[in-house]
Symmetry: none
Subunit: 205 residues, 4 copies
Amino acid sequence: MTEARTPDSSRRSERSRRAIYEAALALVGEAGYGKTTIEGIAARAGVGKQTIYRWWPSKAAVLLEAFLDLAEQAAEEAGGGEYEIPDTGDVEADLRLVLRATVDEMNSPAYDAPARALTAEGVVNPEVGAQFVEKLLEPQLQLYVTRLRAAQDAGQVRRGIDLRIALELFTGPLAHRWLLRTLPLTHDYADALVDYAVNGLAPRP
Amino acid sequence: MTEARTPDSSRRSERSRRAIYEAALALVGEAGYGKTTIEGIAARAGVGKQTIYRWWPSKAAVLLEAFLDLAEQAAEEAGGGEYEIPDTGDVEADLRLVLRATVDEMNSPAYDAPARALTAEGVVNPEVGAQFVEKLLEPQLQLYVTRLRAAQDAGQVRRGIDLRIALELFTGPLAHRWLLRTLPLTHDYADALVDYAVNGLAPRP
Amino acid sequence: MTEARTPDSSRRSERSRRAIYEAALALVGEAGYGKTTIEGIAARAGVGKQTIYRWWPSKAAVLLEAFLDLAEQAAEEAGGGEYEIPDTGDVEADLRLVLRATVDEMNSPAYDAPARALTAEGVVNPEVGAQFVEKLLEPQLQLYVTRLRAAQDAGQVRRGIDLRIALELFTGPLAHRWLLRTLPLTHDYADALVDYAVNGLAPRP
Amino acid sequence: MTEARTPDSSRRSERSRRAIYEAALALVGEAGYGKTTIEGIAARAGVGKQTIYRWWPSKAAVLLEAFLDLAEQAAEEAGGGEYEIPDTGDVEADLRLVLRATVDEMNSPAYDAPARALTAEGVVNPEVGAQFVEKLLEPQLQLYVTRLRAAQDAGQVRRGIDLRIALELFTGPLAHRWLLRTLPLTHDYADALVDYAVNGLAPRP
DNA sequence: TTATAAGCGAGACGGTACGTCTCGTCTTGGT
DNA sequence: ACCAAGACGAGACGTACCGTCTCGCTTATAA
């Protein structure tokens, strides 16, 4: 009996959508994910609660979209086109650059708070996790695959290496330190990681 | 005016403590961390809420202790003594063994649910995260340091390598796949990881 | 700045008006006044909410008009002309007839539900109450005044009696039993009331 | 499966109960019944909403009890014992007194607002109505029965009169004017009512 | 051997947030 | 211009838990 209640997205208020994104990101940054409430987001965005519940199924979904939107905006500002890992011919140098940038990003509060919140929610909530991986993480990881394939073609990575696994030698440790806060995330750490891992992938003598 | 309220732990009810551990782990496994409530734990354990609030500061703390206790029990059953990574002289084989075991553990539901819950909470809540790392994670990681040092002494790992970073080449990717569920965690994956990483740490020709 | 917003009643949809009346009466009858909502009336009438808000200031106003319309229709069906209390020369018999008819009406669900709802709203909301009295109640009461005046002229009611008060000896108790449901409303009850009250108004010996 | 959840009334907070009564009566007086909300009562009483929902099933029930309590307190202040209609031997004079007092009460705002609210709710909600009648109205009406019986025994009311109906000649019209606000409620009105009605009940010459 | 004081199960309390419902207003597209 | 439809800001609904606070009731020293 209960209808599906599918709202008409063509009549959706753009103004409200943006206000909700901003409020959600701000609150997660200021108070943390646990203390961010849908009521709080609605109040801060100057929006009725129903406007949130109409368009999103959960707090995590709101934040995911807000974060996605943030990333999109940042990408556009950085210069429209699709991003790729640079290819100077020197994999190690190229990856060092990327990992250092990633370290910087992870150390910046504007990224840290919402990304942490989303990751944590995804760890515990498979639907959110799947979305997070599909929409945010996997596209990033594909960039590594592309660059590593080029390196393989150039003879800097040995034949037979599974590149989807190889890339995790770089991103896995980084993510681990970031999420668990075991030890500080520094450029030196990124460099060491690249050093050890690239060496591991190099053709055997 | 407010008293320090330090309860007398010598009069603590062992029965209640155990019941709370069991209830907490069961509920996290069945309903997930988010839907596990202190009231629910108390009800399931047949315990007053105050008995939980008297001894633990938060839901996460209860679960952390419960999980620690579980690990302790498992260790005792597995054979009293302190665990270490075996040293057959072949680092690669030894680590393959350990990583395969870790994969199996991560794939077992009894471990998965509470470990995920705790990790997620730690990601977002620095206090919990610090406790988790200190009590659970770091001791495990030290085992890798020990084994890798032996390998270094045996000339299987090159001089100058920072072992605290090196170990993350093994554990980081594993944890990443487990937490984010990007791709399945298999023995083959563990083997490949060990292969690439050990190669990366090996002395240069 | 806020316009007076006087809609052009000449372009009003008669179809919608009727549908709203019917929906309002039906819903009040089925679900009760409290559970009847403007959204519900609009949905049932197949009408936009604004069409109700455009023409009526409140739920009570809709129901009042709907009920008035119902009464009008009933009156027309019963035979066009203005109704009056019959005058056979025997006040007691005439009033007995009227009060019995009133009892029957009060016991009929089609009348009971909306009349109750309106009365209750009027009790608590003076504007609605005033409308209700002016449009529905007072015209009815005037019929009593007319008939009692005839009786007074015929010497069946003593001089000096305030007829506006006198009529309340008949209608007051009836209304009271109906509204509060203290005891059942029967023809015998109506007869007794008429007996006692007419006696009270009769010329002293 | 859903438990009955019967709270332990011996542990109930008297302080909260009183605060809720006061808040409910104050709000109904100030804002009217319709604009009085449970949230509002809770906030004004400095009480959690659940404390209201734990002990009362509805807003109407809260107000009914509050009003009952008010009446009880008033009765105690007026002089502990059970109240009865005075018996000076002159029914007319005695009833005049009582009806004038009732008129005064109905004209006092402290009584008017909650009594109206409750009556209106009772008109539309049979459960509330039954409670209202049983707890408040019927006891009052019994006083009339008692006094009228004495009058009957004294020969001032004729044999055969149904006293339960007779009393409604006094209270019905009064209640009607009060609830519907048709015409002002004055002492003169009360006197006229008593005059006409007592005459109607008197033995026939 | 009793008293006395802690921990205990229970659950009422003042609160916050949930997700739903309805309000009355506003906007869009169709007739 | 009115209409059906329905998104919107607002806020109350009744529920679920939070963390604190009594209640009596064991239960285990210390007088």
